[in-house]
Point group: C2
Amino acid sequence: MDKSKSNVNQSKQSEQIKQLVEPIRDDLLSGAAEIALRAISIFQSVLATSQSLSAKDLKEQLQITADALIDAQPAMASVFHLCNTVLLTSSAVKNADDTKQCDQIRLDCAAALEKFEKTLCDSAAEIAEKTISLIPPGELIFAYSFSSTVVSMLLHARAKGRYFRVVCTESRPSMEGRKLATRLAAGGIEVICTFDSAMGLVLPNCSTAFMGCDCLGRPGVVNKVGSYVLALTCKELKIPLYALAGTEKIVSDDRLFEFEKHERPGDEVWENPPHGVKVLNRQFELVPLSLITGIVTENGVLHENEINDYVAKTEIHESLRLEAVAF
Amino acid sequence: MDKSKSNVNQSKQSEQIKQLVEPIRDDLLSGAAEIALRAISIFQSVLATSQSLSAKDLKEQLQITADALIDAQPAMASVFHLCNTVLLTSSAVKNADDTKQCDQIRLDCAAALEKFEKTLCDSAAEIAEKTISLIPPGELIFAYSFSSTVVSMLLHARAKGRYFRVVCTESRPSMEGRKLATRLAAGGIEVICTFDSAMGLVLPNCSTAFMGCDCLGRPGVVNKVGSYVLALTCKELKIPLYALAGTEKIVSDDRLFEFEKHERPGDEVWENPPHGVKVLNRQFELVPLSLITGIVTENGVLHENEINDYVAKTEIHESLRLEAVAF
């Protein structure tokens, strides 16, 4: 294939990748684990449609996919680690024969994706098992926003015969709290749902609160906006608040603050506001560790000093390292 | 008029009163002062259509109106005091001549209503003047829900040349925060609006917060749901929070808790929730005085021990006294 043709193909494929990733940017209802599973499918599609590419171009396609996914969901640590895993895997493959190199990249990346997916699922199952003892039987418990880890934990606890009711709030503006309520009710759990600012009204009747986690670092947990007032109210009312998070959510301090890039269109909150009114629509916020009773991972309740160990032992692909900000 | 005819007329008029009051029950956008002004109009209508009644029946009509208004808005102290004033005024009129008694009731009540309206307006103006010094120039300030007292205070401060921007939240489910934003923007004040659970995200940039008040007593301030998490967040972030309230908002401890009767239909929050999900829609909640920096009344910042004096010196019509709960 001559070079100009290759360039045309490359740019066409880059366009296709962007189209594949776009729905992930606009997915406001899924929890972090669900979005990571969707990102795995996207990498699988890119690998499957890469048959005619050279090794260099294939690696570039994977890089474009990784960059697009991280840009679409900068607060999602599991998406970041998934992309990092794929890039490290593809970079490690060296072979003088271009066709053989391509085949090896596809094989190794497919295996890495499968392993990542299995880890996500196993981790959710482990967290569910480890959290059961934190649900006081017969009580009202509070759950915030939508997290598939929290949903599977609650359904697992109910399947194990633990009786409880759940209170949740709707989670404006995307209303993913309604998705949580619907899933739990379909699983036979009685749910009480109200609007978000009524947290202070319902929490005094709850004995424990749970939330998911999009990203976790030494400064705290990044999760859906509203988690901060939830944590503050739980602290005031002395209600334990647990964040459920696989260790694939752990990132370095600088990466943690990437969530601040994530601003959504104002019209998702208020269509056609009058002249003079600016509408703000941020999706994520940071909850300091001091406001959270415990973070339950697949290895049990996390100790703050373990976060450093996870960060230290994680190799980051050179293209994903954040540059130090120059002053 | 024979007795049976009189009974028919009475019940017809009672029905008319209920129809007059119903829109007040469903008024979720107006602040307390606006609702009190609407209640004044209703009393004026009842007086205007009472020409054929006996003094006994006229007093009964006023009683029915008062009971219906208090039942429609149990959290609104100004509606309660308005009704109390009308009932005390009409009860005080004694005259052997029935026609003369009726005329006197109409005259005295009309004067009492006019005086109440003037007090409400003067009080809002006084509060506005006394609050200006609490607005730091050039800063972002936070305002919650909709209160005509807060709106007129902010517009007054702007008219006096004080520059500031306002941050508010939408106030689900009735969205009266949008009404606040619209009114302020129309008055030339720059507004930033977001959803309610994002309070914790915007408050760190604000230097002061203001809210209205529906009812005020020794246990605290009753205001729109969300005021409690607002107060908690302000306390954590060390942002002064002021409630603006005319002294006509002050009630006894037992009357204060009448707001708990006020539950709204769930479908205002979530239409057609799935089976197994109960939707809770409460409108008001209590914020303890300990979470509020100060309450600004027409007489300046209120001291907690003054609340007792106001309660002690207010005569309550016998029909409006709450019975002690029997154990």
